[in-house]
Amino acid sequence: MDGSASALDEPRNIDQGLSRSDRVFVTSARSVGVFVFVLVAAIGLFLGYQALPTLHHYGFRFFTETQWVPERNIVGLAAVLLGTVEVALIALAVGFPLALFTALFVSEYAPARVRTACVSLIDLMAAVPSIIYGLWGFFLLQPRAMLVARFLAQHFSFIPFFRVDTDPNAAAWAQSKFTASAFIAGLAVSMMVIPLAAAIMRGVFAQAPLGEREAAKALGATRWGVIKTVVLPFGRRGIIGGTMLALGRALGETIAVALIISPAFEIKWHVLSVGTATVSALIAGRFGEATHAQLSALLAAGFVLFAMTLGVNTVAAVFVNRSRSGEGSEI
């Protein structure tokens, strides 16, 4: 009696382990995961490893030198990094308000009938290849944006950024001084970051609690009142995260920028005037004639760019709330 009772108290082992087929499944799935992990990590490590000789050779001067003349052993990122950041910031300065307005329009102002169509249009905008935006920026936008640049140079040249080293008021003004600039490249890149940022912001705005919206309306809030008190505070993380992701995208954009800018390796704060350089456009333009050492320098430049985008995206990931990624949805 005693013996059998103690046997009953002992819990039956319900975890019978995995069957053989499942062991094979789990093991092979895990090995695929490990393979992808190694592959992807190897790319990052490879870039870092290839960058080492250059960083070792040039030391800190790699970040302070402006010229990029590998033939004369002068290689530095100062001008290129500044150009990259300038183009990305101009893209954000133009793209952030437009993305925010677009997201607000779709989630707050658009009639319910056209809302789905608007969401599709944002997705479509994100799917248009970047070279198409490059064509648009170079051939359609540049002749028009050039005049805007001249207008800014004429009337706002007291702001140092808007100065152009030519006389914008001259009757026969030097048009070429206002083309191929960081400003125009930034405008083209903004087209690529707007759908990215707008889609994330809209997604967050759509989740703003209905009860609070209704409460605000019941208290007599106008549409802007609802946005200001409910939607924007609720969506703050999405706004910041979406903008950071857009910044990461803008930093790495290659082909549209390479199509528009004319390369210039100098520290240049005058964003309206001709010539700038970005890391990705530098790589696209220089890899062809690169010798081994030059390739290493380009890889080092690429690694610095990757480190920047990675940092920006990591911060973005902290902000963009991804509550759903943890668990499966219920029936």
Binding site: V32, L47, P97, F101, P129, I283, A284, N313, S325
Partner: protein, 352 residues
């Protein structure tokens, strides 16, 4: 005592004639004022700047006119509403002009039949549009994208299955690394493949090298979006399957993957649309051929984005026109893929 008609809802939008008059009056008034200032007083040129100034003037005037009759709250609401509508309109117009411009400029090349049936082998860039075409670029794009999909899709889905169905501490590390890799600028994928395969292993610049570069950019995108799709599969279905005695493997292949099929197809097509237009890595690794080449392991292979890039940089009128034709064709392809995802997504909604 007044009888309230309960059946008829009270109109909640109370726009009066006065409101519409304020809107229209502000638009016309600001147009006149800005025209006077812009083209007469400051004598500036450029339609883009004019429209921007007109819009700023319109908002200022609209707010001012509203302020005569409305309280401050309403004035602010109206001004913000005008700003938001204007911003969305700018984005819409920019998208419309982008796509429209490509088609308008591409039409001279697009309406010649030889544009689709011939390649550029032996055709000078200056040749008239009745000679030469994009056949080699279209076929090259199809081969490169196809190979990239064959490499990236199974790996991506398997990784997603691992992260979503097997899990464990290691899967979090895999997820972190994959998310980090979506930050990789596309040109660096090209530079990586160029350094390893072409410089390191002395490959030629071929279509295969290009598709490897494309697969590298596609893999994190597919893995991440496929994982999201698998996570959306209701866990009740999994539990039901396991409760009936099915193994994990049977649950995954018999329940989870079939349920997620249309979602997986969508993520696949998004990945394809993304790499079809990818130019930067191809610029580095594939090399642009002018001739027809279906062998991805030998000789350079052209592709649509690369064709567009070389064509518009050439400066030759006819070659630029061909570039636009190719761009329009590329946009059509992407639009087609995009429409396909919508159809699939709708199918998924209806089956629920």
């Amino acid at each position: 005592m007044t009888v309230v008609d309960l059946d008829r809802p009270r109109p909640v939008s109370t726009r009066t004639f006065d409101d519409y008059a304020a809107l229209g009056g502000a638009a016309v008034g600001s147009l006149a004022t800005v025209w006077l200032l812009y083209s007469r007083v400051f004598a500036t040129q450029g339609a883009l700047g004019f429209i921007v100034c007109w819009y700023v003037g319109f908002i200022a005037l609209y707010a001012a006119v509203s302020a005569f009759t409305q309280p401050r709250v309403t004035v602010v609401d109206r001004a913000i509403s005008a700003v938001v509508h204007g911003g969305a309109a700018v984005v819409g117009i920019a998208l419309a002009t982008t796509i429209g411009y490509v088609f308008v400029k591409g039409w001279p090349a697009l309406h010649h039949l030889n544009f689709y049936t011939q390649d550029m082998g032996g055709v000078r860039p200056t040749a008239p549009l009745t000679q030469g075409g994009v056949r080699h670029a279209v076929v090259g794009s199809a081969i490169e994208v196809g190979l990239a999909v064959v490499m990236a899709m199974p790996l991506g889905v398997a990784t997603a299955v691992y992260m979503a169905e097997v899990g464990g501490r290691l899967s979090n590390a895999v997820r972190t690394v994959i998310e980090a890799m979506t930050a990789l600028p596309d040109i660096l994928a090209g530079l990586f493949v160029y350094t390893v395969l072409i410089i390191g292993l002395h490959w030629e610049r071929t279509g295969l090298a290009a598709s490897i570069a494309l697969a590298v950019t596609m893999l994190p995108v597919v893995a991440r979006s496929a994982e999201v799709v698998l996570k959306v599969v209701p866990s009740g279905l999994r539990e039901a399957s396991l409760a009936l005695g099915a193994s994990k493997w049977q649950t995954t292949t018999g329940v989870v993957l079939p349920t997620a099929r249309s979602g997986l197809a969508t993520s696949l097509i998004i990945g394809i649309a993304r790499i079809t237009g990818e130019t930067a890595p191809l610029l580095i690794v594939s090399g642009a051929s002018t001739f027809f080449n279906t062998n991805p392991t030998h000789d350079p292979m052209n592709s649509l984005p690369l064709y567009i890039f070389t064509a518009v940089r050439s400066g030759e009128t006819n070659f630029v026109a061909r570039g636009y034709g190719a761009a329009a064709f590329l946009v059509l392809l992407v639009l087609g893929l995009f429409a396909l995802t919508r159809v699939l997504a709708r199918g998924r909604l209806e089956s629920k």
